[in-house]
């Protein structure tokens, strides 16, 4: 692994002030360019010579990409800093899973630098915001000079460090479903120490009608080439009366459904074992929150 005190690679640097200007640059330089949206991951990759762009386009000075608003769900601009989203979510804790993910993500300095778009556009299977965004049924708006498209996050992640974003496209916004009062959500992460990259993460959003789980979305990170939804697990729970037996059964399904690998942070076996436990923790927390218990 290369890690030098200086950046040895040379590139031209652009700071567009509008989306239009950015799209023009992307059309012109596309595959030779990288978008800089915080840099905690991008600069690390540059230092380690994993990437070698000829152009860097810093989108942090574009006001339209920096916003958080609640209109028909939660809309977050792609270049919105993680610390600002955390602060917003802390207010009413409606998007608890996202809040908990941001609390556990890296260090304060990284929250001050990193953006939500940066966190997911790198396509890391371990991106901490990915499971909560998936659990809130996240969609992303991508724009290029060819036009606009909206993708489900499940279709956006394509593989390790690989997304559906074309070289001339940029991410504008992430849109989450509303979080009404009869829903609850939670996020849990296993990592070696507080500010480390995750071994495994899990998020869940549950809609509760009395003892019935009306609907739920379960998602996991760092257990497959992409952050994934546990759709088979969701089927077991949806529309059914919840008891410990059913949640136990769902936990077994989670362990089956994921596709983890051995790597520097954990073994696949460990990840399968812990996934069931992690899921159960997340589910019960979300379930209690959906029932109006204190967040």
């Amino acid at each position: 692994m290369v890690n030098t005190r200086i950046l040895t690679q040379e590139f031209d640097y652009f700071v567009p002030e509008t989306i239009r200007e950015t799209l023009e640059l992307l059309r012109q330089y596309g595959s030779e360019a990288k978008i800089l949206a915080g840099g905690t991951d991008l600069i690390t990759q540059l230092k380690q010579e994993k990437i070698s762009p000829d152009y860097l386009i810093n989108i942090m000075k574009i006001p339209e990409l920096n916003h958080i608003e609640e209109t028909g769900g939660l809309r977050i601009g792609s270049a919105t800093k993680l610390c600002d989203i955390k602060e917003y979510c802390a207010k009413d804790r409606k998007y608890t899973a996202l809040y908990e993910a941001l609390c556990s993500l890296g260090k304060i300095q990284v929250l001050n630098m990193g953006t939500i778009g940066g966190n997911i556009c790198n396509g890391s299977p371990a991106a901490d915001t990915a499971p909560p965004l998936l659990a809130f049924n996240g969609r992303v708006k991508l724009l290029s000079e060819r036009g606009e498209r909206v993708l489900d996050l499940t279709d956006f992640f394509k593989g390790v460090n690989n997304t559906a974003m074309a070289p001339d496209e940029m991410m504008i916004e992430i849109h989450l479903d509303p979080a009404p009062d009869d829903t609850g959500s939670a996020f849990t992460k296993i990592a070696r120490v507080g500010a480390d990259i995750s071994k495994i993460t899990c998020a869940g959003v549950v809609e509760r009608h009395g003892d019935i789980c009306a609907s739920c979305r379960i998602s996991l990170g760092a257990v497959a080439p992409v952050p994934m939804r546990g759709k088979e697990t969701e089927k077991i729970l949806q529309g059914n009366r919840i008891d410990t037996f059913l949640v136990e059964k769902a936990g077994k399904k989670v362990a089956e459904e994921i596709n983890p690998i051995d790597d520097i942070r954990s073994t696949a076996e460990y990840r399968r074992n812990i996934a069931a436990t992690l899921f159960k923790d997340v589910f019960w927390k979300a379930w209690q929150r959906a029932g109006g218990e204190k967040r």
């Binding site: 700071v15 690390t44 300095q109």
Partner: protein, 163 residues
């Protein structure tokens, strides 16, 4: 594997920053990292280069009042910013900031390498929350790694500045 290469003459860019209250106008290459500009161009060597990949927090400086990692920040990206480094904490008469004094009083320094980053995080926390709990201090400094002093005395030092 990509290597450092000189593709063409990359244009140097103007960088206007205020560092510790003093204005600077520099001409830098786009790939210059903030920590190297501070250390090599401005001779502010208090900020330390530790791991270089955002794991240790040793290079923490405040940019527009918020702590960031100097080793993962492109200097061109902070054009126009107001930067505070460890050197900017002491007063013009060279007397130390209360957080620095507290680190000395509580022996929260052994080799001293993590100290500038730790002090900057302590200062940042106290700016926002004048009376932090021990838990809040540990939470705020969780991204700053120390390998010899031990965290107990560091936490104690910051706690002693709590109002």
């Amino acid at each position: 594997m990509a290597t450092g290469r000189r593709r063409k003459e990359v244009r140097k860019q103007a960088l206007n920053v205020k560092v510790n209250g003093e204005k600077h106008e520099l001409l830098i290459e786009p790939n210059a990292l903030l920590i190297n500009v501070l250390r090599d161009e401005l001779a502010l060597t208090g900020t330390k280069y530790g791991c270089g990949i955002g794991q240790c927090g040793g290079c923490t400086v405040l940019v527009n009042g918020e702590p960031v990692l100097g080793c993962l920040t492109l200097a061109v990206a902070v054009d126009g910013a107001d930067i505070l480094t460890i050197e900017g904490l002491s007063k013009p008469d060279r007397s130390l900031d209360p957080v620095q004094e507290a680190f000395l009083d509580h022996s929260a320094i052994q080799c001293g390498f993590c100290t500038p980053g730790m002090v900057m995080m302590g200062k940042d926390l106290l700016n926002k929350n004048p009376a932090p709990s021990e838990q809040e201090i540990r939470e705020h400094t969780r991204g700053n790694i120390c390998r010899c002093t031990g965290y107990t005395s560091i936490v104690r030092a910051i706690k002693s500045c709590s109002k």
